[in-house]
Subunit: 335 residues, 2 copies
Amino acid sequence: MIKLSDIAAKAGVSESTVSRALADSPLVNQKTKDLVQQLAREAGYKVNLVARNLRVQSTRTIGLVVPQVANPYYPKLIQLVADRVKEAGYRLQLHLSGADQESESDCLTSLYEHRADGVLLVTAVNGLVTKSQVESLVASGTPVVLLGWVEGAEHLDLVMADDARGGYMVGKHLVDLGHRDIAVIGARPHRGPFDRLSGFQKALNESGITPNLVSSARSDEEVQAVIHDLVSLPKPPTAIFAYQDFVAALVFKHLGAACISIPDQISVVGFDNLDLGTYICPQLTTVDLPADQIAAEAVNLVLARTQNADDDANPKRIVVSPELILRESCAPPRR
Amino acid sequence: MIKLSDIAAKAGVSESTVSRALADSPLVNQKTKDLVQQLAREAGYKVNLVARNLRVQSTRTIGLVVPQVANPYYPKLIQLVADRVKEAGYRLQLHLSGADQESESDCLTSLYEHRADGVLLVTAVNGLVTKSQVESLVASGTPVVLLGWVEGAEHLDLVMADDARGGYMVGKHLVDLGHRDIAVIGARPHRGPFDRLSGFQKALNESGITPNLVSSARSDEEVQAVIHDLVSLPKPPTAIFAYQDFVAALVFKHLGAACISIPDQISVVGFDNLDLGTYICPQLTTVDLPADQIAAEAVNLVLARTQNADDDANPKRIVVSPELILRESCAPPRR
DNA sequence: CTGAAAGCGCTAACAC
DNA sequence: GTGTTAGCGCTTTCAG
């Protein structure tokens, strides 16, 4: 593995000169610079970053930890973050925390051991399981910014989508269409007052309505059971708010199996704006979380902290607004 | 940032002893070991891997480069590879090559500069654009294994799915059901003789049939146009082979819009076995590429090369077989 | 069982 | 402009 001294020998100059020449430093004679660069190219020399990083005490690496990569929301975010990070001249180190506590901790440890310059952390549904570890990371000088709301983390930098606002939009849309019997299907909320469900309920409350059914269902079987119960009701709901798009897709499937047509008999709204929503028929009305804004804000923030460009000690909280995407799965209720 | 010498000072021993104690070496007295470990824990000491990696001349890092993360096949693969790599005590460094040549080259360069111990490379549709670079990587002692067939790379290690065999299964299934008029929709083949399309055609040829239409269409609009043309035919095909699942989903959508029922009027088969296929109605008959086997084989191979456990100079070629997943989107043609 | 010393490959004062 | 030197934080001979 060819190194600096090798090409220094070839060129008949010192290592420092080679180092400078390759960094295109103005402190070196153009002729030696050309010579060195040419020699390096010919020899296929590439700097050893592990050595350089040790020397300069920086890795120009930003860590990103996400629970998993299978859930289609994450790939979008990962791609966007990767692009922004690269653009800024940094490198991304992705870690999959697998949604369990132990491995979230492992990711953070690994990032610290590799001396990442900053970390972006997307917590799993169970919230921030490693708060103290994050705090010590920050204390040790590695900025951490949280992606998504986490309970009891008010002292940490945070970039989040305004889920509650998205939920409110959904609720308002359905109410405005004339719906009064509305069911909710999906996971239990985990973002407390900032949850999409809380905004949704607020919208209904403003019109004096309460959701007539809130079921926790995520798997195919669970959704099937819930839909079965719902359509067996003497007076089934006229609209369903699915907590996530993929749940909405399951709702579509089982509503279809029960010969209930969307949106004629029941309107359906999702949340997340996955591509999936455009592949199903009718196309799904949903809420788009602006992953691009989140990625951009998060990367900017963590880099600002890294470079001490922003030495404001107060935690930053950046909230970006979602958008209601009107497609084909909603209509006024039939009378 | 606390380092080895700090805790050596605290413990009143030398750095070497601390290093050994933390590595749980048998060469150190149990009592000093306990003391050192406790002190290290209290102080929150974590090894600096960039220093260690420089010293030991290894990073225990495997690079994985994939074109993108948005295409749903990749997340599956990434997750699987990440799990296997971690299991083996290595770390994964993911790079997104963005499907363009320049950045595939950048990824490889970055991996080399960081001295990854091995790399797994998934090439984009345009084939291996950086063959010479891969070769010099290998020559410099970093094993590279290709994931997926690449033209003119017979001298490199390769793990691939037998796409042609999958295509054959699809063709045979359709023919066995009685179909004679079969259209193909999707991308142009890029795996030459190993392409799913070549296997598909072989199956038809064995029964003296030729596909009556092969259209290249990937976007929503393109598929819409193709479907429109197809159903306007005096004698429309009775079955459609979509080159990829997401194309199949689009086919579903536009067939639905044209009031053609699946599988009564037209059977549809996909390829890839994305989750998507179970969300649509009827559920999609498709071919599953065994991502878990591919991941396992690839990681095993690259690690074996890394550790010189396998110093066979001959390139390895591991081919894993796909599986036909029978679901609801196919039926015999109506007479 | 423990310590002293060397050195991984590179960059950056500091001299000349 | 260029070379000499020191040192980033760690592991690992080699002595004792």
